[in-house]
């Protein structure tokens, strides 16, 4: 009897429907505010990994300088362990030697994690489209959330990219 009840295929149909309905009601009641609260926390404490892969890192450094001060938008300065980070800004060219390491860094980060591809090299290979050692964009390695174009992008562009990411996170499911 009990065995039959737990067996999903032969269980009474009505039980399943009831459980499903209850879950829906719960999600409607708690889910939205909970999502909002969780996302609010995530948006304002995005912590990028310090992964300088090429020359765009100069402009990333300039973005945390006093004039641009990306920290006021909730992007914490990139000096910390990657196991505490949730944002990876790929600053420029990814070479064939770097690509496995990039994936390794990404895999070590805890969920949820977001990816910004910064600069033309990270998007398509850019100026180095015909180089033998450069990947044509990082899409084959990482799932990219936001593309920030430019060679290199100005700090303002990077900040706008970060704000777009925050907009995107707002619309994501929290848990």
């Amino acid at each position: 009897m009990l065995k039959e009840f737990f067996n999903q295929e032969t269980a009474p149909h009505a039980t399943n429907v009831l459980v499903g309905k209850l879950g829906e009601v719960l999600v409607r009641a708690v889910g939205k505010p909970l999502d909002y609260a969780i996302n609010w926390g995530r948006i304002w404490s995005l912590w990028p990994v310090h992964l300088e892969t090429a020359c765009c890192s100069v402009e990333f450094g300039a973005a945390s300088s006093p004039r641009y001060d990306v920290e006021r938008f909730g992007i914490i300065e990139a000096f910390g362990s990657l196991r505490q980070c949730d944002l990876i800004v790929v600053m420029g060219t990814i070479t064939r030697k770097m690509a496995p390491r990039l994936r390794m860094v990404y895999d070590q980060m805890p969920d949820p994690k977001y990816v910004i591809a910064m600069g033309a090299c990270a998007i398509t290979g850019g100026l180095y489209f015909d180089s033998y050692n450069v990947l044509p964009g990082i899409d084959g390695v990482l799932p990219v959330d936001i593309y920030v174009p430019g060679c290199p992008p100005r700090p303002e562009t990077l900040i706008q990219g970060c704000m777009l990411l925050q907009e995107k996170i707002k619309r994501m499911k929290g848990a």
Binding site: L51, T53, S65, R101, Y128, V134, P152
Partner: protein
């Protein structure tokens, strides 16, 4: 019970005292560079640098583009020192094609190169500060750097990748009131630099972390073929701007900064003192510059170099930077070799880190004025 290993892979003998650490390619300092360090307790036993994470094949790409198309991608290795990395390329191409540069353009080039040297050094200093956990030293130079960037943006139109120096002169003339703006900025900056000394170079924590670490003697500096501030910190008076003056550097009034200590502190202090000299050069160049005239010799379309070769070098922020160009009557160069200071200073790394405390690694590493993107090319 031993399975044969695939070729190229070796098992390493494990020692219970010696531990192997992989510093990089992702680490909280400057990334894209791996140091395989073996430590015994807190002391570094051996260090094996593993560069190449940004090897983009610039030299190969240059063989497929003509002399003008090569400009943008050749400045990418050091975008915060882009005038200085293009300088020897322009000199070399000018010698290959037999182009004369107008007098005014030579002075403008010197101004652009010195402004860019300040931009580079300030960025380097900012990262040096954060390397040693000194956040104020990140904020101050990073903020002052923007003022120099504004000047170069007014000159060239771009924030960091200027491509301002071209074979035959500079791309365009100076904007209106540039001289006044530049002088005002230099005056402000010299005052500001003195404050750096109080907060950073006289800081007891900095002194205790850098003084006496990673000592490179004069003999070794010469034997290892180091260059730039690393060489001058070890007491060798060698600056390309003085020893083999290019363009109008022989008319400029400045001095080479040399220190005898050869430790991390000297290596960090010399770029700082050179910024004062840069300010002097900028002032001098503005005073001596012809007030009007052409700034660019027009090249004919698709110029061809003769059956010749040329080696030209300048002093960049990281030391000697040279281009070896071989041409063979074609619009594209036959071979371009970029000889960069970062790559030459790489050889010091295993040498200096041996026997050093692991905690001193950041100051030694960044004190070598090493920019990995440039070293890998």
């Amino acid at each position: 019970m031993t399975t044969p290993l695939p070729p190229g892979i070796q098992l390493e003998k494990v020692d219970d005292r010696i531990m192997t650490l992989n510093v990089g390619p992702q680490h909280p300092g400057s990334g894209h560079m791996r140091l395989i360090i073996k430590v015994d307790g807190d002391y570094i036993v051996s260090c094996d640098p593993d560069p190449g994470y940004v090897h983009r094949g610039e030299e190969k790409m240059a063989e497929y583009r003509n002399y003008i198309q090569n400009i943008p991608h050749l400045e990418r290795p050091v975008i915060h020192d882009s005038s200085n990395i293009l300088y020897p390329y322009c000199l070399a191409v000018e010698e290959l094609l037999g182009i004369e540069v107008p007098e005014r353009a030579k002075y403008i080039r010197v101004i652009a190169a010195e402004l860019n040297r300040c931009i580079y050094t300030l960025y380097w200093l900012a990262i040096y500060g954060i390397f040693l956990g000194h956040s104020t030293m990140f904020m101050w130079p990073a903020g002052d750097r923007e003022l120099f960037i504004d000047l170069l943006e007014a000159m060239s139109g771009a924030r960091v990748t200027h491509a301002y120096l071209v074979p035959g002169g500079v791309r365009n003339d100076l904007p209106a009131n540039f001289e006044e703006r530049c002088l005002r900025q230099v005056d402000y900056f010299e005052k500001r630099l003195k404050e750096y000394q109080a907060i950073f170079y006289k800081n007891p924590i900095l002194i205790s972390r850098t003084e006496g670490t990673g000592i490179l003697s004069r003999t070794d500096a010469i034997r290892l073929g180091t260059t730039g501030s690393v060489l001058r910190a070890s007491g060798v008076n060698y600056d390309i701007r003085k020893k083999e003056p290019y363009d109008v550097y022989e008319n400029m009034d400045f001095e080479t900064v040399v220190m005898k200590e050869g430790d991390s502190y000297a290596r960090s202090y010399i770029p700082y003192l050179e910024m004062f000299e840069s300010c002097r050069i900028i002032r001098d160049a503005i005073r001596k510059m012809p007030k009007s005239g052409s700034v660019r010799t027009k090249l004919k379309p698709n110029p061809k170099g003769g059956n010749d070769e040329v080696y030209k070098r300048v002093e960049s922020g990281r030391g000697e930077l040279g281009y070896y160009i071989v041409s063979n009557n074609r619009p594209e160069p036959y071979r371009v070799k970029i000889s960069v200071g970062s790559f030459r200073n790489l050889i010091c790394m295993p040498y200096l880190l041996k026997g050093e405390l692991l905690g001193n690694m950041p100051s030694v590493y960044w004190g070598l004025n090493y920019w990995p993107v440039e070293a890998d090319r």
